[in-house]
Amino acid sequence: MTGSRGRRILLGAAAPVGALAFSMLITAALLLVTGHNPVEAFSAMISALQRIRIVLGTIDQSAVYYLSAVAVAIGFKMNLFNIGVDGQYRLAAMLSAAVAGAAWMGSLPGFLRIAITLLVAMAVGAAWAGVAALLKVTRGVSEVISTIMLNAIATFIIAYLLTPQRLAVLEGNNISTPKITEGGQLPVIEFEGSTTPLYTLVLLAALVGVLYALMLSRTVFGFNIKATGMSETAAVASGISVKRMIVSAMLLSGAVAGLIGMPELLNGSAASYSLNFPTGIGFTGIAVALLGRNHPVGMVFSALLWAALDSSANALQGVGVPRELVTIMQGIIVLSVVVAYEFVRRYRLTLEARDVARALAARSKEAAQATVSDR
């Protein structure tokens, strides 16, 4: 059907764009009520985004958000709510940082050190997610509950291991894993006029995105994930082992979650896991995946939007508006987009049913006319 593809993209974009506009409207109203000038606030954010340092920071940050969103989306695609991405990436980052910074790594060639770090991170993330998967398939424990609890456990394990007697070293006031030595990190791309470099691991996020897209559209495994997500009963009747799918999807989700901390660890200036390591990205990933509707390309846009909002937040303080305004905007976007998507989904189904009915009616009319003219 010609035109239906264009319509599909248009409909798909309508909801998030509408949600963004709606959230700007609400925040504008909020600013007016609190006695600020909304035009001033928004133009401060927009002008911030014209500075190269902010743009590069946005891109770096969006790569991290994108990885987190993919990790969440793999689960979402089969109605599996991996709320534990946060704990998975923090534990993975901490343990892989300890491995990457270990003394024995120094003697290995650079690419091997990077590969080992990445593999350890993926393995730890997968293992931590696997705990929830096993609990679900063997004992029927809801993955929502178990992953939330595993997040808390991960926090305590990290606190336990991040002490000088175990995996950490004390450097001044800061406690962290041993710094990764020369050769254990990846180069970054410096830009003139910017203190923030471009992370090369943005490419890793892109690669994960491509693999995710290919998995969904081209592989039997991806088909099974989608089928299980859309109708578990139909999946069972078609011979898909739902338990096996739960375990593999959860492991894969955890492995991708393990990569979330890698840009910061392997491209960042700290070169270690410390108490200052970014937290909460797993939850941001849920929002980004929701906004991008688990779509490999949609999540690129939502990750960029999220990162742009984040990095322009500081500019608000210049015009006397609290930076938390951005958090409010993000919250409204997510809430309204969830509602909007459901509307669009239903609208699309009725639209299609109508089109099909109309096309069939037209066809049978044509056939009737053809037989008349034959006579």
Binding site: M1, S231, A237, G239, I240, E352, R354
Partner: protein
């Protein structure tokens, strides 16, 4: 416009002689010789009016009760691109059960939504109790005493019965919820209409039949005098249907009016005082339930002669394709086996029909053969090799096609495209897949083949399965399951809920596949289909196969008797054949 006239002898047909008892299960057994013709309740309104009229229903002359409870005149409702209802006219007399029958998609639900104020008609008028009304919302309909019981229950499981009933119109005494008053009123309502239910019980503890009574009470509580029941029996087992019909008769006796939407013709003829038939969005006539037969009603519904299920000469071979020996399936902790001692064989080129009242183990038998449900004992052999330990995917790969009983839940991914649905169940085989990759081009090409060969009416293969009609969805499933040359086909209700055109086509495909040497296990609730399309018939009753019959010599009546176990336990007072339903009011 000239419409066919139905000329039938007045009065009940002779085979009703001897069926005098009013309650369905009992009369069902007494009249077992003709299980699919049910006697009308003596003395009920509508008995005196004889013939089916083919003219567009002229509103009945107001009876002694006064004006008709509901009168619809020339209702037309258009949706963009389609006319859902066109010039619908019928009237419902007060204190009667009026059935509205028609095929899926004939416009019954649209009409009832109009009557319940969920949308406004484009043309036509509605009058209730003689005065014209306009509904802008269901609240307006409720205000004049119309209540709707939806097919899918809308109850909060974690609330009690009375809480559910008052939800949304809570009685208040002194600023607080008047729980005692509410319960007293509900118990009184329940007592008046014989709707037995414990108002303090949690809804999650109730069976389906009791939940439905709660739904009815909910409507009565809001003062409804005219009840619309949308496919109320769809979710009930036979015994619960009997209870429901008992309740409906009590409601009728209290002067309430009931509009009963269904496409189960036996039930309609049992309970209704008058039947209005809808086809393609318009009323085609009214019928007297005591004078009309199922076939006549069905032909009115579809507007043409029905296809006849029949097989040609026998193609049965000696090759055993499926052999079940001593198969047992447990029913979960503490309950008895849902299947025991199942021995059966199907040969290449043979159709084995399984007859049984629904819920006697058919679904479990299918699940056991497909490997969806583990067997507790016995063996399943496919073409000579034991497949009892294989997964569903492996069994499918060794050549088992599966048309599941519920196409929306098990057969299709409704929001997936047609070609994605083509892959479903065939993910591991060509042409859908090459190794671990999906072969999109080949899957699409093969979907086009199925669409052409099986006459699936669709504008393309990129549309979602949800947008097709039921018949076309089913043809797609049949086409898919007959792909990749299966040796065995499990066909569970293959023509349920599809239009006659699709039914005839599906039967033809089954015949052709049988001629080509396919072994078919056919499960159906349609006895005509079973007898016509089977080489051999087996009856399943309470999880056991109780006898094998030759379809050439058995009548539907004898088969019906065997299905309910009539004669097997002559002394039992409880209704037979609903052994699984545990609910007794």
């Amino acid at each position: 416009m000239q419409r066919p006239r139905w000329d039938l002898p007045p009065g009940p047909p002779a085979f009703f002689a001897g069926c005098r008892r009013a309650v369905w299960p009992d009369s069902f057994r007494e009249c077992m010789i003709v299980p699919f013709h049910f006697p009308q309740i003596p003395g009920s309104p509508g008995m005196e009016e004889g013939q089916m009229t083919a003219d567009p229903p002229t509103p009945d002359p107001p009876t002694a009760d006064g004006p008709p409870a509901v009168e619809l005149m020339g209702i037309t409702k258009r949706f963009p691109g389609v006319v859902a209802n066109s010039n619908i006219t019928f009237s419902v007399r007060r204190g009667t059960v009026h059935a509205l029958v028609g095929e899926n998609g004939a416009g019954k639900s649209t009409l009832m939504k109009t009557l319940y104020g969920m949308h406004q008609p484009d043309e036509g008028s509605i009058s209730v109790n003689g005065s014209a009304v306009t509904f802008h919302s269901p609240a307006d309909a409720i205000a004049v005493g119309i209540g709707m019981v939806h097919q899918h229950f809308m109850l909060a499981d974690n609330l009690t019965v009375w809480e559910n009933i008052v939800l949304g119109s809570e009685p208040v005494a002194g600023g607080r919820l008047d729980a005692r008053g509410a319960r007293a009123r509900i118990d009184e309502l329940a007592g008046t209409y014989g709707l037995t239910v414990d108002s303090g019980a949690l809804v999650e503890t109730l069976g389906v039949g009791a939940r439905q009574r709660v739904e009815i009470l909910k409507v009565l509580y809001r003062g409804a005098r005219i009840l619309i029941l949308d496919e109320p029996t769809a979710v009930l087992v036979p015994q619960e249907v009997d209870e429901l019909f008992g309740n409906l008769r009590e409601l009728k006796a209290e002067g309430l009016t009931i509009i009963f939407i269904s496409h189960k013709l036996d039930e309609v003829r049992t309970i209704a005082d008058e039947i209005t038939v809808i086809r393609r969005g318009t009323t085609v006539g009214t019928a007297d339930p005591k004078a009309v037969t199922n076939r006549q009603l069905a032909e009115m519904m579809v507007g043409s002669a029905l296809p006849v299920p029949e097989l040609r000469e026998s193609t049965v071979t000696d090759t055993v394709v499926l052999r079940l020996a001593g198969v047992r399936v447990g029913g979960g902790a503490g309950s008895r086996d849902v299947l025991s001692d199942i021995d059966l064989q199907i040969h290449a080129g043979e159709v084995l029909g399984i007859a049984g009242v629904e819920g006697n183990g058919q679904a479990e038998l299918v699940d056991a053969i497909m490997g969806i449900r583990p067997i507790a004992g016995g063996s399943v052999e496919l073409a000579g090799s034991d497949v009892g330990h294989l997964s569903t995917a492996d069994r499918r790969e060794s050549g088992v096609g599966f048309i599941p009983e519920d196409r929306h839940r098990q057969g299709l991914i409704l929001e997936g495209t047609l070609w994605e649905n083509r892959i479903l169940g065939h993910q591991t085989r060509r042409p859908s897949a090459r190794g671990w990759l999906v072969d999109r081009a080949a899957a699409r090409a093969d979907t086009r083949r199925i669409v052409d060969t099986f006459d699936v009416r669709t504008p393309g293969i990129e549309v979602t399965a949800a947008s097709l009609s039921g018949g076309n969805q089913q043809k797609l499933i049949v086409g898919r399951e007959m792909s990749e040359d299966p040796v065995l086909l499990i066909a569970s209700h293959p023509t349920r809920g599809v239009d006659v055109g699709a039914q005839a086509a599906i039967w033809e495909h089954l015949r052709n596949a049988r001629a080509a040497g396919l072994a078919v296990l056919l499960i159906s609730a349609d006895l005509e289909e079973l007898i016509g399309m089977s080489d051999r018939l087996t009856v399943i009753l309470r999880g056991r196969l109780t006898g094998t019959y030759d379809p050439h010599s058995i009548t539907p009546e004898q088969l019906g008797a065997a299905m309910t176990g009539a004669g097997e336990e002559p002394s039992g007072d409880e209704p037979q054949g609903s052994a699984k339903s545990g609910e007794v009011a």
